[in-house]
C-alpha cells in the first residue's frame, strides 16, 4: 500500500506523525518500551519530537507484532519500519559538516568504498614508507610493527582522525539536542539512568520487569539480539581497552609492541576480537532470518556494511595476532590499520552514530519522565 522508506524524509515524517497519532489514541503498547510513555507525554508531534522518538526506538518490533492496526489493516501502522526510516534521515540531517550528509545516501556502498580506500591507503603508506620487503619478510620482537608503519605515522593519523570525529559528533549532538527540545539543566540522576540503560540495553530486553525480550525474528520473544549486541559492544570496548593499555605501556613504561601472548593488551584484544566477530556475525544472522515486515529495507545496506566492517576488523586483528611472526604480518598490519582508520573516519557517517543519538534520546527520556512539568 505504501513504501515510506523510499519516499524521502518528508514523507517519513508525515507517516510517523500519522502513526504516532493513532498510537497515542490506542496506547495498548504502553508497556513495551520508553517510546510509548514518551509519546503519551505529547499530544502533537513536531519534527523534533519525531526525531527524538525515532532515536529512542530500539527497533525491538514488539509494537508491530502486537498491533491491531499493522498492515494489511487499512491504517497500516508499522512503527518500527517508519521510525527506522526517520532515524536514518536524522543521521543525515544532523551530520556535520553538512556536505558530508550525502554519505548517508547509499551508505552501505559508501562504507564499503571507504573501507576499501582504507586498506589501499594502509598498503600504499606501508610500501612508500617501509618499502616492498616489509610485505614479504618475517619480523618479530619489539618494534617490529613500527618497522612496517612508523609509530609517528600511526599516531599522527589516529590523532587527526580522532579530533575530526570528536568535532563532527559534537556538532551533531548539539544540533540533535537543540532540535529535540534543548535544555541544559542535566543532573546526575537522569544521566545515571541513561548510562545504565545504554550499558544494559534495557529496551532490547523488553524494557520492563520480568520481560522476555524483544521480537527479534517474529511473533515470539527472545533476548538473542540483546546478547549479540552486548557481545559486540563489550568486545569492541575490550579492543579499545587493549589499545589504551598498549598506548599507556608504550608511552609510560617504555614497553614496545608487539606484546607477549600473556600480556594485558593481547588478552584484551583477543577476547574483544572474538566478541566483535561473534557479535557482528550474530547480528547479521538475525537480520537475515528476521520477519521482514517491520524492517525498513532502505537502512539495511548501512546496517550490513557496518557489521561487515566490524567483523572484518576483528577477523583481520585475530589473524594478525596469529600470524604476527610470519611473513604475512606486514600486509595484515597494513590492512588492519587501514580498516581501523576507515572505521574511525566513518563513525559520524555510518550506522555507528546510532549510539550517539540513542544515548541522547535515552538521556532526554530520563529527564522527561522524571520531571514531566519541565516540558513546554
Amino acid at each position: 500500500m505504501r513504501s515510506p522508506e523510499f519516499d524521502g524524509p518528508a514523507a517519513a515524517l508525515r507517516d510517523a506523525r500519522r502513526e504516532l497519532e493513532i498510537c497515542n489514541a490506542c496506547r495498548y503498547c504502553e508497556g513495551f518500551c520508553a517510546v510509548f510513555p514518551a509519546m503519551m507525554r505529547r499530544r502533537t508531534f513536531g519534527d523534533g519530537d519525531i526525531a527524538y522518538l525515532a532515536n529512542l526506538c530500539h527497533d525491538c518490533k514488539g509494537c508491530f507484532h502486537a498491533c491491531q492496526y499493522a498492515p494489511p489493516h487499512p491504517f497500516g501502522v508499522n512503527l518500527p519500519q517508519t521510525l527506522s526510516t526517520v532515524r536514518r534521515a536524522t543521521y543525515e540531517q544532523y551530520a556535520w559538516p553538512a556536505p558530508l550528509a550525502a554519505l548517508f545516501h547509499r551508505n552501505g556502498v559508501v562504507v564499503c568504498a571507504i573501507a576499501a580506500l582504507g586498506i589501499a591507503l594502509g598498503l600504499i603508506v606501508t610500501l612508500v614508507l617501509a618499502g616492498a620487503d616489509v610485505m614479504t619478510l618475517p619480523r618479530s620482537g619489539p618494534g617490529s610493527f613500527y618497522a612496517v608503519i612508523p609509530w609517528g605515522v600511526m599516531v599522527g593519523l589516529a590523532g587527526t582522525a580522532s579530533v575530526f570525529v570528536a568535532i563532527a559528533l559534537s556538532a551533531g549532538a548539539v544540533r540533535f539536542w537543540r532540535d529535540t527540545g534543548g535544555g541544559t539543566a542535566v543532573s546526575a540522576q537522569p544521566v545515571g539512568r541513561a548510562v545504565r540503560e545504554v550499558l544494559t540495553l534495557r529496551y532490547l530486553g523488553g524494557g520492563h520487569d520480568g520481560a522476555d525480550g524483544c521480537n527479534d525474528t517474529g511473533e515470539s520473544f527472545s533476548q538473542t539480539r540483546r546478547v549479540f549486541h552486548h557481545v559486540l559492544f563489550y568486545g569492541f570496548a575490550l579492543c579499545f581497552a587493549a589499545t589504551c593499555v598498549a598506548a599507556f605501556e608504550d608511552h609510560f613504561l617504555g614497553l614496545v609492541a608487539p606484546y607477549p601472548a600473556l600480556s594485558a593488551p593481547v588478552l584484551l584484544g583477543l577476547c574483544g576480537g572474538i566478541g566483535m566477530l561473534a557479535g557482528s556475525a550474530g547480528l547479521i544472522w538475525i537480520k537475515v532470518i528476521t520477519d521482514p515486515a517491520p524492517t525498513a529495507k532502505a537502512v539495511l545496506g548501512a546496517d550490513y556494511a557496518l557489521l561487515g566492517l566490524l567483523a572484518a576488523i576483528a577477523a583481520n586483528g585475530l589473524l594478525l595476532l596469529a600470524l604476527r611472526e610470519s611473513a604475512a604480518m606486514g600486509v595484515l598490519l597494513a590492512i588492519h590499520l587501514g580498516l581501523v582508520l576507515a572505521f574511525f573516519v566513518l563513525v559520524p557517517y555510518s550506522k555507528m552514530v546510532h549510539g550517539l543519538y540513542r544515548s541522547l534520546a535515552l538521556l532526554r527520556n530520563a529527564i522527561e519522565s522524571r520531571n514531566p512539568q519541565e516540558e513546554a
Binding site: 489514541a25 496506547r27 495498548y28
Partner: protein
C-alpha cells in the same frame, strides 16, 4: 495443508480467545483438534485482537492485579451493568473460573502489564495483556501450534449437520474450496453477527446502514443462524447489540479502540438539526460511555456532533482523526455541515444556562452544571466561549450482539425445550448473551470467553475420548 478428511476428535469453529482456549484445553486433554479460523492469519483472533484486558476474580494480589476482587463484588458489578438480564448460575461459573483462567493464561505464556494509564480504576479488577489482545492471541496461537493443534486460516464453517442432537459433519470453505469435516465433538466459538450487515438491517431497520462495526468483519453469525434453523435454543434480545459512540470517520470495520471519542462529558452533543438530546454530564466516563451508541443511533441519520472549545481540548484522550476547528461557532457549524444559526442558538442557550461551580474533570463531585435547561447538563458544564471552537462527528459503533446460543453450565448447547445436544458445545461471544443480556463492563467478554472456552474444550475432549 491440513487433511480435512482426517477424523479429528474435536472441531473448534472460530479463532478468537474462546476458540483457541477451547482448542488448547482439548489438546492438553489428549484430543486431536482442528481449529477453523475464518480470517486470514493477519486478522486472526476475532474481536479478541481488539481487546486489552480480562476481568478477574481474586482473593488477594495476583500478578499485576492489586488488592482483592471477590466473587460477590464481581457478581454485583455484573448484576448492575446487565440490570438483572443475566443467568446467575452461569455468571458465577464465569466469575469463579476467571481466577483459574489467569493461571491458564500465564501457563500459556501470556504476559500481563499493570493497568494502562487512564484506566487506573481497573488496576484491581482487570488484568491487562502486555501489548493488548493481538499480542495475547499471538501467544495463544503459538502455544496451540506447539501443542499440535491443527489450525486452518481463511477457513469458514458454513453449516453443521445436526441430527437428533448430534453434529454429524460440518461443511466448510477453506481458501475458497469446499470440504466436509467430521469430528467426534464440536465447539462453536464463532462470535456474534455484528458484522453481518443484512442481518443488522433486518434487526434494526435501515438505520443499521449508518452503524460502524468496531471489530472484526468476520463475525458473520453464519453458524449461529445455521443452528437457529435446526431447533437450537437461543437467549438474548435478537435485535440488540452493544454500541458506543465513535468518531464518524472511522472505517466501516475493525477501527477498534483508537476510534473512540472521550470528549462527550466536556462537550455538548447535538444532532443533525443542531439540537441537544441528552445530558452529556450524567455520570463519570467511561461509566456512561456505552449509552451514547444507542443515543446517537436514535437520532435522525444516526449522526451527532460533539461541540466544545479550546478550554476543553486537552481534557480527553487525543483522537486519531483531526478535530474540526473554527474561529467562531458559525464557522464550526458550516465545517460540520450544520445550520449555523441553529448551532449558534443552541450554544448561546447552553452558555446562558451554565452556572459557575467547582470544575473537577475526573470526579463526579464536579459542580459545573446548567440550570433551567432541557435536557440539563448536570456535570462538567462550562460555557463554550474560547476559540478555536472544536467539533467531532459521532456515529454508533457496534461492539457485539446479544443474541446467543443457549448453553448449560458446562457450555453444552441446548435444543429447544432445554434438551442437551450430544456433542456440541459453545464458548465466547456466541454464548455470552446467556450472561450478558444487556450492558457491558470492561473485560467481562474475555473472562466469559476464557472460562467457557476451557470448559467447552474439556467437555468436548472428554466426550471425544470416552
Amino acid at each position: 495443508m491440513i487433511d480435512f478428511s482426517y477424523p479429528f476428535d474435536v472441531l473448534v469453529i472460530g479463532g478468537g480467545n474462546a476458540a483457541v482456549s477451547a482448542a488448547i484445553t482439548a489438546r492438553l486433554a489428549g484430543a486431536s483438534v482442528l481449529l477453523l479460523e475464518h480470517a486470514p492469519r493477519h486478522f486472526r483472533g476475532g474481536n479478541s485482537r481488539h481487546t486489552r484486558n480480562f476481568r478477574c476474580m481474586h482473593e488477594g494480589p495476583l500478578g499485576v492485579l492489586t488488592g482483592a476482587y471477590s466473587e460477590e463484588e464481581y457478581w454485583e458489578d455484573l448484576l448492575r451493568v446487565t440490570a438483572g438480564k443475566t443467568d446467575e448460575r452461569l455468571a458465577r461459573v464465569a466469575i469463579r473460573g476467571s481466577y483459574e483462567s489467569f493461571g491458564f493464561m500465564v501457563r500459556a505464556g501470556v504476559k500481563f502489564q499493570p493497568a494502562l494509564s487512564g484506566t487506573l480504576s481497573l488496576s484491581r479488577t482487570n488484568a491487562f495483556f502486555l501489548g493488548g489482545g493481538k499480542a495475547l492471541m499471538n501467544t495463544l496461537y503459538a502455544y496451540a501450534e506447539r501443542l499440535g493443534v491443527a489450525i486452518a486460516y481463511d477457513t469458514e464453517a458454513t453449516a453443521l449437520h445436526l441430527a437428533a442432537g448430534t453434529v454429524e459433519a460440518a461443511d466448510i470453505t477453506s481458501q475458497g474450496f469446499p470440504f466436509t469435516v467430521r469430528a467426534r465433538a464440536v465447539v462453536v466459538a464463532s462470535g456474534g453477527f455484528q458484522a453481518n450487515l443484512p442481518w443488522l438491517t433486518a434487526a434494526w431497520g435501515p438505520a443499521a446502514e449508518n452503524f460502524l462495526i468496531r471489530g472484526t468483519p468476520y463475525a458473520q453469525g453464519t453458524i449461529l443462524k445455521n443452528l437457529m434453523g435446526q431447533g437450537v435454543a437461543t437467549v438474548g434480545d435478537p435485535t440488540q447489540g452493544h454500541a458506543v459512540a465513535i468518531d464518524a470517520r472511522a472505517p466501516k470495520f475493525d477501527g477498534g479502540i483508537a476510534t473512540r471519542l472521550d470528549c462527550v462529558p466536556f462537550s455538548i452533543v447535538v444532532n443533525r438539526d443542531a439540537q441537544r438530546f441528552y445530558d452529556e454530564g450524567e455520570d463519570i466516563w467511561p461509566k456512561r460511555y456505552a449509552i451514547w451508541g444507542r443515543l446517537v443511533a436514535q437520532q435522525p441519520d444516526q449522526i451527532a456532533y460533539a461541540v466544545l472549545d479550546a478550554a476543553a481540548e486537552e481534557l480527553f484522550m487525543p483522537s486519531i482523526f483531526p478535530a474540526y476547528r473554527a474561529a467562531s461557532v458559525g464557522d464550526l457549524a458550516r465545517a460540520l455541515g450544520l445550520d449555523p444559526a441553529a448551532l449558534g442558538a443552541t450554544v448561546d442557550a447552553y452558555n446562558a444556562a451554565v452556572r459557575p461551580g467547582a470544575f473537577l474533570p475526573t470526579s463526579i463531585d464536579d459542580g459545573c452544571r446548567t440550570e433551567g435547561f432541557t435536557p440539563p447538563k448536570t456535570h462538567w458544564a462550562r460555557p463554550i466561549v474560547t476559540p478555536p471552537f472544536i467539533g467531532y462527528p459521532l456515529r454508533p459503533g457496534i461492539t457485539f450482539t446479544y443474541l446467543a446460543l443457549k448453553v448449560d453450565d458446562r457450555a453444552n448447547v441446548l435444543l429447544d425445550g432445554d434438551r442437551p445436544t450430544r456433542n456440541l458445545w459453545a464458548a465466547g461471544e456466541v454464548m455470552a448473551g446467556n450472561i450478558l443480556g444487556q450492558g457491558y463492563t470492561a473485560g467481562v467478554g474475555m473472562a466469559i470467553g476464557t472460562v467457557f472456552g476451557r470448559i467447552a474444550g474439556e467437555e468436548a475432549a472428554r466426550h471425544a475420548l470416552a
